[in-house]
Amino acid sequence: MSVRDLAIRYGFILLMLGLVAFFGLAASGFLTLPSAIFILQSVAITGILALGVTCTLVVGGFDLSIGAVATSALMLSAYVMVVWEMSALAAVVLCLLMGAAVGMINGFLIVKMKVPDLLATLGMMFVLLGVQRIPTEGNSIATGMALPDGTNATGVFSPAFLALGRLRLWNVLPLSVVFLLVIAVLVWGFLELTRHGRLMYAIGSNAQAAALAGTNVERYKVAAYVISGVLASVGGILLAARLGRGDVASGNNLLLDSVAAALIGYAVLGASKPNAFGTAIGALFVGILLQGLTMLNAPYYTQDFVKGAVLVVALVFTFALTGQQIRRA
């Protein structure tokens, strides 16, 4: 392998290690276990969303609705527990079903109705932003909130539900980090090791050829949006468990940060295409950057700048070196 090939393959990872070394020297306490766990925990939610969007990128699509799906799951879980006073399990199941249903509808719009992916999922995003606010007339959901009938809501976030976002295994490892890691491994395995993942990549590269090779293109595309919807709702569930209430929020930042992670993934290991490992590294990269900068007491506005600048430099480095145009994005 030439130096150039090495740079393409490992440049991004080296850059990340360099960052870790720098922060380790500059900020005492950065290179500690708690700090590492913070980083993972802080990127758990965007990381899970990013893995979902990766699946839609793989089939040549895109999902702009993930942020809204996540905040819808946040509101739904709170509504189920606080207003309907149902159990944690019911909340989780309903959220997952909601995510799957949104994915199905997205897939249906794109595959059957031929609506372009960006458009369909943008429309879905707006719909969800509205829908999630209608039951509470735009209000956040918390125990004791006034209900339209004049009474107060008496349900609570069950401890089991809160544990999803707060429990630490062996008092160290937060459950949300475990979810991130497990989901990352599952998505990676699915995309890289199974024939389904292989066919999804084929569809993303040349859907016509995949169809003529006997692939059920429509079913796989819908599946990708369902995966994306379900993972976004998992993200929303974790968010709800962390916040302990149903906060009205647009989810725009979740969307942008997850998309950033998934796109940074293109540059990891010189893949030049969407891939689960890269996405996970991309999310981690953003987390390390933000944790390091915050520990160095950098004001919040410099964080966006550094995030962007490092992103651009890393990308130039990778793509200028590979010198190849990628198929999409």
């Binding site: 900020a27 956040s140 125990t143 962390r242 933000l290 915050t294 160095l296 004001p299």
Partner: protein, 326 residues
């Protein structure tokens, strides 16, 4: 009951609430107060929500003028974009009051919660609990008028008590605010494990800091002081071992009621005064626990200042039937 015109024929009266900020407990409760007072007066309410788009907010004032409303409450916004719009409303003969935005117009009463008092009360409690020397983290996003005013008080306190060592200042309004602030606070705490006081003078900030303190297992060591209160905040303050020690607050619903009452007085050709101030109260964790208060309703029952404020309340003014709550 004799009411001055135009409230003698209330069905015909319509007012507009033109909002800049709308998400979060505070704004939710504020809106409920506005609605309740409007209902008590028997007038129609139109809510125009610009969701942090200042240009759109100015347009919405014009829209309200075009719709022929009889009065306008401006809730938050930027001085520069609202100044002219508010003047246009006055020019059209429509009375205006403004909450938490200075539109630099002496004909427009300012409704305020006295942000300096809010910050002062919370910080005095911090001094009382922790002495005059501590290591502090501070949550602040500049450019938001009430936060800027609270910041002035914080600067004064730091000058007065040199023992206060601010080792970190952070903050973000990224949605959901509590989640984003929690991520920042986690990093701050790991970089500065010696922090003992967090000053987070906005309840969404305080919620985020509390999440981080809990996650870092530092709730025994760190104390949080904040502004604002809601039912959810009360629950968070009362969790066993909660680091959230005290908050200084008005009842936002009361502030909403007061805003409408001040406007109603103007519409009836009475003068509510150039500044209508709703005084804040300090609420401590101990107090909530001692009196087992679980929501805003109970808080209002225990603290009369929370039920309603005796400001802008002339005799003829109908008050909402039940005490304000959220």
């Amino acid at each position: 009951q004799d009411r001055p015109a135009p409230f003698d024929n209330p069905g015909e009266v319509e007012i507009a609430l033109v909002r800049y900020l709308s998400t979060g407990d505070f704004f939710q409760a504020y809106l409920s107060g506005v609605e309740r007072q409007a209902e008590a007066l028997g007038i129609n309410l139109r809510v125009l929500d610009s969701r942090q788009d200042a240009a759109l907010q100015a347009d919405m004032v014009d829209q309200a003028i075009a719709l022929g409303v009889d009065g306008i409450v401006i809730q938050h916004g930027l001085t520069e974009s609202m100044k002219d719009a508010a003047q246009r409303a006055l020019d059209a003969g429509i009375p205006v009051v403004a909450f938490d935005v200075n539109v630099e117009n002496e004909k427009i009463p300012q409704i305020e919660q006295s942000d300096r008092d809010l910050a002062r009360l919370a910080l005095e409690q911090a001094i009382a609990d922790n002495g005059e020397a501590w290591t502090a983290g501070y949550v602040y996003v500049p450019g938001i008028a009430p936060l800027d005013r609270r910041n002035e008080t914080w600067e004064e306190f730091k000058a007065k008590y040199p023992g206060i060592d601010e080792v970190a200042m952070f903050g973000t309004l990224d949605n959901p605010i509590a989640n984003s602030v929690a991520n920042q606070a986690r990093s701050v705490l790991s970089a500065n494990p010696n922090i003992t006081v967090m000053f987070a003078p906005y309840d969404e900030f305080a919620k985020g800091v509390k999440i981080a303190v809990d996650e870092a297992g530092m709730s025994g060591q760190v104390s949080i002081y904040s502004a604002d209160i809601s039912t959810a905040d009360i629950a968070a303050m009362r969790e066993p071992g909660s680091a959230w020690k005290a908050t200084a607050a008005t009842n936002p619903a009361v502030v909403g009621e007061v805003s409408v009452r001040a406007l109603a007085m103007l519409m009836a050709d009475e003068d509510p005064g150039a500044q209508v101030i709703v005084p804040p109260t300090l609420i401590t964790q101990a107090q909530l626990n001692d009196e087992s208060i679980t929501n805003m309703e109970e808080l209002a029952a225990k603290l009369p200042a929370f039920a309603h404020a005796d400001v802008a309340a002339p005799d003829w003014m109908p008050l909402p039937s039940a005490p304000a709550q959220n």
